[in-house]
Subunit: 432 residues, 2 copies
Amino acid sequence: MASDLPHIVIVGGGFGGLSVAQALKKAPVRVTLIDRRNHHLFQPLLYQVASGGLSPANIAAPLRSVLRKHQNVKVLLDEVRDIDLAGRRVLLAERDMTYDTLVVAAGVTHQYFGHPEWEALAPGLKTIEDATEMRRRILLAFERAEFETDPAQRDALLTFVVVGGGPTGVELAGVIGELAHYTMRNDFRNIDTRSARVLLLEGSPHILAAFPPALSEQAVKQLASLGVTVRTHAHVSDVQADGVTVKMGEQSEHIPTRTVLWAAGVAASPLGALLAKAVNVQPDRCGRVPVEPDLTLPGHPEVFVIGDLANFSHQGGKPLPGVAPTAMQQGGYVARLIQSRLQGQASPAPFEYKDYGAMATIGRGRAVALLGGRSFKGYLAWLIWLFIHLMNIVHFENRVLVLIQWAWNYLTRNRSARLITGDADAREKQQE
Amino acid sequence: MASDLPHIVIVGGGFGGLSVAQALKKAPVRVTLIDRRNHHLFQPLLYQVASGGLSPANIAAPLRSVLRKHQNVKVLLDEVRDIDLAGRRVLLAERDMTYDTLVVAAGVTHQYFGHPEWEALAPGLKTIEDATEMRRRILLAFERAEFETDPAQRDALLTFVVVGGGPTGVELAGVIGELAHYTMRNDFRNIDTRSARVLLLEGSPHILAAFPPALSEQAVKQLASLGVTVRTHAHVSDVQADGVTVKMGEQSEHIPTRTVLWAAGVAASPLGALLAKAVNVQPDRCGRVPVEPDLTLPGHPEVFVIGDLANFSHQGGKPLPGVAPTAMQQGGYVARLIQSRLQGQASPAPFEYKDYGAMATIGRGRAVALLGGRSFKGYLAWLIWLFIHLMNIVHFENRVLVLIQWAWNYLTRNRSARLITGDADAREKQQE
């Protein structure tokens, strides 16, 4: 790999960044892909890890493995501290690096509406560690309920509150319902796991706001069949170790629970604010960077911002949804644009998002999907969901193993990855 | 389950404790199985997790799942603080509990020959967290070497020292050799992973001391073919962040390395010392409890000590090996003895260990085995090893999935579970 080739630096190995690197396979460029983690994560299935259905390695693949045959790509495990747009340099924790073209695809993390102190009480779901932490909390609650003699405490232990009625919240609530009603039904001697309460709290009038109201209603029904109660217009006003306080209109209610899971707001990586400030534009409410129609940073045609970190509002006036297809389509577009420039061709037309639809799974054989304007629900929706997700898992081996694991889970409602792991002292700490 | 049935309390859900619980399936008893963890762990395959070949859930099964159909067993996630032999009570972190019969199978942990400060620098391999920590360190060393410009530092990063030449040490060293020579060979751009040095240090004259010298020699050769150098008569006298100091006879050598893995001594659970003191016997050098020929605690026929925690020296004068078959055979014996007593029958003959042999695997198609006095090596030994281990994995699903995962790894030399997980700040911390 000649060192005089143009140097493309990609920040982030998620769906967006990885798509750029892969699509540049045959381009005469040097690519450096920087990520804090050594793996690409298939985030849409993270809730399966949180519920013990899949192992982390089933939905994550080492970036080096995925890019093994891409001889023009170097993978670098490091963290970006700052970006020097004038000097075309990224400043990393352990080194600095110059670029000719920069692609920033650093994604989002959870946010707690100005209450960062809630994070320790109500973990979100963005990383493998988040997922194993959720798994630990969910399983420990049942373990502790089994030997709890105080009925009020037992009820609190068997109450699970999921905050946020988007796809992640719906999927999490559904899968906890399944654990309680099917998977673990025969595992305990003192408690009936089917008595567990799962509450899904949503601030707006509908869960799954991106779907038509009829599908949202359908999701509520399917959730109910798994013992999940949906509460809309419900705003969380406080999270404590022993419960959550929920405001519904004028009324306020304390719900005793020991397990609160966060699937509500997201905030862009701090790199968003940093870039926006450097070019004097205002980041949006979530900290995302408004980008040009060709996904470049205003005034910097050599810098692209894609995926969850970008606010692309040139199509219909609303930002594009923060989902994998958006990031992947943007990644492919940027790779094509880079190649056009190298060949001295005119730039391609502005980026255009193709909306193939949306879907959310609720449990075994339960889902809702909106594809090409058509609504699907129940078993058929679930099969579509399964097929599309399997086809999209990046790494071939993972796809096969996930298929086998799911086939097994489907036949047996088993969830064999129900391991409580993590800090050996964490159990004690949590109880204090 | 009538509450007037005799109450059998089992401490520890490893091979020993689980065998007792399973063998009492149809006995008219109440069984409580206590473990700090919610899962049974197939420890002999832990090194496969440490090297990214298997996921934790492939070799661990929730105890509740394993014992789901054992209606007379309650599983309790808790930790034993003390045992009151006179009052027949176990004192747990969160409650107390009386027993009629107690089985203590609390196992062993690593020990550092009086240097507990080495633990942070040289992790051992007993739990899932240990294995994912080892995996993190091994993979991070390669990641950092890829971008290290100082040749001496790079060499230190590409030097892996395994302390202890028993089966675990041999397996670990072999599997790191395989990672470097095969699996990750094409993953890096700046370093040749095949230049990695793997050192296996053993204090005694031979690795795999339980095997005949010819098989031990064979293991050294097979390790060499994976780039592993074995040093015998090598005593570790110090472990630092930047290397280990090794004494060989009069000579002392500093080996620069950033990755030291501990597979040397074991120490019994503190419950061993506690029980020994209570009955005024001397625990052995490793803290194990000398037991009677029927595996009872001296003077306490209602208390059994089995597995790694027991020193059973009534057969040949030497303690039995600390391996899964010992624990499982002892568990079965104790269950039979408990049932004989319930039926008012004479106690069975003293426990007798049946030694079916020993084996250690070194890499794909590489192993040594001693079965019924016959020696096997290489491919045949490996097939035997594979077959026996698969047949013994407790949980049926895991057996199938592990078989598939191994078949895949075998065909591709892939290790898809090469994830660096854990404390997000740990990477920074380790580098300080």
